[in-house]
Symmetry: none
Subunit: 411 residues, 2 copies
């Protein structure tokens, strides 16, 4: 079954606030197996509201509206719905005394009669109690669509959603639940993913696959009504994607690397230049990171590279600070001095200034030292300073992951 | 003039992500004096996309679409727009070689031809360059509506909005401009801000003030059609807010501190425990940070605090790693060893584990050493691990700012 969400209020249209209500409702409905097919926001104008309601009626099984239920003149949802459904508004006398009592309970003085407009609901609507505020919501059915109107204040909306809307939908509009599984990838682009999917297409029947490109890589969201189909799809994708998959569900890259380090009994440290501490911050962003993270140094200046890591000043003079020999010397120097098993070293030009034709902005040399071996990489990253730093941090944490997994070829 | 925003993608409908693109576009258009009258989100289905585009055409002067421009089969915005506008799709041959070059620049291997679909634009559309990604956007006019189609990846969308869409609208759809000024505050809450506003209320006539609580503090957005009124309001607010204001417009806190350090001829370094390198990353997030940032150490283990900062092991044994004496010893030890003028040291319990009744999660001791003086602070932060780390990083960078400004009382 499909649902639509309509949020009413100028603050969302002006971009002053994020629409967390719409997000929360969508998540809650997804949990019931109801798919949201459309979200709309309009401002507090009666024409806009009634047109948006009218459009949704008959198109989807469920319409959830938030906002516009308060007592002020710009709260027009009740009127907009009544007009769209073609009914009048009536004061619900049975709700008046409980509302007066609510005002007394909240410690306010006697309720002003301006508040009664909140109790004026479309004919045929069923009130939805608001346990934490003054405006009730309501439910009304029309043209096969069930419409829920809830307040825009997030804490009121949420409690009414959970206590009234979801139970009603579970009881009256039961849907087979949808299983969801997220596989997190790194180091492989979207088009390459699609290409590999082609090899296992038959295994993905009955499974919907969503691609979510976001740092540090692309998340694959598998959805299906069949859990057996989910298992089959996951197995097939693991077979063709291998170590591009670093985690499932919410697992961060740092957590995946941390687990490998702990199982090996190793600690990691970082010796950073252009990344400015970002790799250390990434590795310590996970609870319990002290089990595998020991220390880091950020050596921005050449002098710091020499004093804290023992990099030979002549090496810097000869090759420049952004070079393979210096990256290797940073990793090995920190490894020697700190006696930490794994060290990630990074030196590069994050920009926007400081680039030259031979060493342009985005050039990053990195090295990873583990017992008995140091490997180095030259990479070019595009984009802003922040993107260069963020990407090189994630790419090098992933390189350590691949080394810990025993990969020989690491790009 | 009115505008509509259409975001395309199942991740918003599923509630997996918040629609920050819609928020950012709405804010940017408001800055040009263009009012957003409707926001719609639909999923990656050709019928839904083309219907949503068709509905908007002719209704508003501007339609901005985000999402669905990638190379995968569920990227259907190009087709949806072409169908709505009633034109065909054509490969833009002039864009092919630049895209192949972009792939090479990014260090990928030769571009797969599956990427060419991104260059297949509706007939009559003008491509919009994407300086940080592979999918171009496009602009097309139909029935008096100018339509912009941008990628859904926020950093790509943002740069194309700023570099192409807003300049085009300013040039071709000029509206009486609304002046906007942003004053960035730190260390003062919203209700306190409102209270201080009361003292200068008459100076704020003809100016609309928006409050945007976001890290590291609250941004105040002043909007007015009168630039004189903006100046008057800014002066009045500076008089009552003083050093709570650290910057204007987009200026980051690190930039404000960097400017003060450079003017003093000082460098800064950090000695971090619970913040894990986040303060160093913050201070180096600004272009040109090597003018004031020299080095940092992250000392997670007690041994690292001793080896890298010279903290006496007995001091740690006696007071614990999270204590005033250790915070001071970290700052002074790093200052002595590195000969850097300003050192920020932080040690605390970021959680979610590791708290005790005397030293609960969220307790952070910090110290700042400058020539001739070291000051220390005890702070308690609420929230998640990430919030504790982020807040303590920002608060301590701000403390350094206040010290550089010669403040005596620093909370």
């Amino acid at each position: 079954m499909n649902a639509e969400i309509l949020t009413i209020g100028s603050e969302i249209l002006a971009g002053d606030i994020l629409d967390t209500n719409g997000r929360d409702i969508a998540q809650a409905l997804a949990g019931l197996g109801i798919t949201v097919s459309r979200r709309v926001s309009v401002s507090d104008h009666i024409d806009a509201i009634s047109e948006a309601v009218l459009n949704a009626m008959g198109r989807s099984g469920v319409l959830v509206i938030t906002g516009g239920l308060g007592p002020t003149p710009d709260d027009l949802t009740r009127e907009g719905v009544a007009r769209a459904v073609g009914v009048g508004l009536h004061l619900r006398h049975e709700l008046v005394e409980p509302l007066r009592q609510r005002f007394r309970d909240f410690g306010f003085r006697e309720m002003a009669d301006t508040n009664l407009v909140q109790l004026t609901l479309p004919e045929g609507a069923e009130p939805i109690p608001n346990p934490v505020g003054t405006a009730p919501g309501f439910r009304i059915e029309h043209q096969g669509t069930v419409l829920f109107s809830l307040p825009g204040i997030p804490r009121e909306m949420k409690i009414m959603l959970e206590e009234s809307v979801l139970p009603w939908l579970s009881a009256h509009r039961p849907v087979a639940p949808i299983g969801v599984r997220v596989l997190r990838t790194i180091g492989i682009g979207e088009s390459d993913l699609v290409h590999r999917f082609g090899h296992v297409f038959p295994e993905l029947s009955d499974v919907e696959v969503g691609f979510y490109p976001q740092l540090p890589g692309v998340d694959l969201k598998l959805s299906s009504k069949s859990f057996a189909a989910l298992d089959k799809a996951e197995n097939a994708l693991r077979a063709v994607l291998g170590r591009y998959i670093y985690g499932v569900e919410e697992e961060p890259l740092a957590g995946a690397v941390g687990t490998l380090l702990v199982s090996q009994g190793w600690h990691v440290g970082t010796a950073e230049s252009c990344t400015g501490g970002r790799i250390a911050a990434l590795l310590t962003s996970v609870p319990g990171s002290s089990r595998y993270f020991d220390r880091a140094v950020v050596t921005y200046s050449d002098r710091a590279k020499t004093e804290l890591l023992g990099v030979d000043p002549d090496l810097i003079k000869e090759h420049g600070a952004v070079s393979e020999p210096v990256a290797r010397a940073m990793a090995e120097g920190f490894s020697d001095r700190s006696r930490i098993e794994a060290v990630i070293a990074v030196t590069g030009i994050a920009g926007p200034d400081g680039g030259t034709p031979e060493k342009p902005v985005g050039l990053v040399w990195s090295a990873i030292a583990v017992p008995g071996e140091t490997r180095a990489w030259r990479s070019m990253y595009g984009g802003t300073r922040d993107m260069i730093v963020t990407r090189s941090a994630n790419v090098n944490v992933n390189r350590l992951r691949l080394m810990l997994l025993g990969e020989r070829e690491i790009p």
